[in-house]
């Protein structure tokens, strides 16, 4: 199987280039990450992140044949040849397929991704009804792989100002949480022309999310809650 892989080592290379590689021993039910690990045997300078190898940690997010995804859950037989592998777009490349996610994590931090509770801490846990807990389904599953935000043109143009779909999904995750008591503060922090309202409903985020989540829907819910509170 033929691969065309983005290579860039800032210590050695003047500019990035695409390296052609061939993997002879392709087995059935092999995932892309298995192929990358085999290719690393051929050329051990090939660099990429990986950890859990089962779509839980989100480390091996990359651009696969033009579409962001996780290498560990992408079957090789679903890909056309040559398989073009590039780092996720829009973020600075550290080396080969490894990108600097600092900007992405900073935007995640900006939405205060934790419960804010002003009441005294209860003696038992903060309780939720099953219906209240259901509100978090489709939100808490995010693994922060970055596939969505780096597929979003609005995030490419304004990565420092627009929070991006991943962070906004988490913003709604805490707005939708019955235990959180900072709705007003959270909404106020999302106001302005950039943080939330750079989303133009392009929906690349929904298209590429490896966990099947829907950040666009979450963003819509934030806007409607904002509208409801302002009227």
């Amino acid at each position: 199987m033929r691969f065309s892989i983005y290579r860039y080592n800032p210590d050695v290379d003047d500019k990035p280039y695409m390296q052609e590689m061939v993997l002879e021993d392709v087995r059935n039910e092999m995932m892309l990450l298995d192929a990358l690990l085999a290719l690393k045997q051929q050329d051990e300078s090939l660099s990429f992140r990986r950890s859990c190898q089962e779509g839980v940690c989100g480390s091996d997010a990359m651009n696969i044949n033009g579409r962001n995804g996780l290498a560990c859950i992408t079957p090789l037989d679903s890909l056309s040849e040559p398989v073009k592998l590039r780092p996720m777009p829009g973020l600075p490349v550290i080396r080969d397929l490894i990108v600097d996610m600092s900007q992405f994590y900073q935007q995640y931090r900006n939405v205060k991704p934790y419960l804010i509770v002003h009441d005294p801490v209860p003696e038992v846990e903060h309780k939720q009804s099953p219906a209240q807990r259901d509100q978090l389904d489709g939100l808490y599953e995010c693994i922060l792989c970055g596939c969505c935000s780096t597929a979003c043109p609005s995030f490419w143009w304004n990565p420092d100002k627009f929070l991006g779909p991943a962070a906004l999904l988490q913003a709604w995750r805490f707005l939708a949480d019955s235990r959180d008591q900072a709705e007003g503060q959270r909404l106020q922090e999302l106001e302005g022309p950039y943080r939330l309202f750079r989303c133009h409903t392009i929906m690349n985020c929904v298209d590429v999310c490896p966990k099947g989540l829907n950040p666009t829907k979450a963003i819509g819910k934030i806007k409607h809650l904002m509208l409801k509170r302002s009227i």
Binding site: S154, E191, P193, F197, R198, M226, S230
Partner: protein, 113 residues
């Protein structure tokens, strides 16, 4: 301009104007189809009616509002230099103002003649 005006309010204007424009276009098409004869006197009588001229004027105001939010979004996305951005926003705003004045002149003339 406050942060609130720039975010939620403009987003809402975009939606409200889109809704008005959709209904407005439907009204225009149905009204024109219902004219007995599609000629200048018929059209003139239709456009210079007080209700129609107000509906059309508001329709164009909504079109300008919608276009303004859209063009502002494009400029904010793609033009990052503050000087260039201010200049293009000013030029776009000026363009809309000129169109609005021109539209007012056309409609007033249509009503008066």
């Amino acid at each position: 301009m406050s942060r609130r005006v720039q975010g939620l309010r403009l987003w809402m204007w975009q939606r409200v104007s889109a809704l008005y424009l959709a209904l407005f276009l439907l009204y225009i098409v149905i009204s024109i189809l219902m004219l007995e004869q599609f000629d200048y006197p018929q059209w003139h009588a239709w456009i210079s009616g007080p209700v129609n001229s107000i509906i059309i004027y508001i329709g164009f105001l909504m079109l300008f509002a919608h276009a303004w939010v859209g063009i502002r979004d494009v400029i904010m996305d793609y033009i990052h230099s503050i000087v260039l951005r201010s200049l293009t926003l000013m030029l776009a705003g000026l363009g809309f103002m000129v169109c609005l004045l021109w539209l007012s002149r056309v409609l007033i003339k249509a009503i008066l003649t």
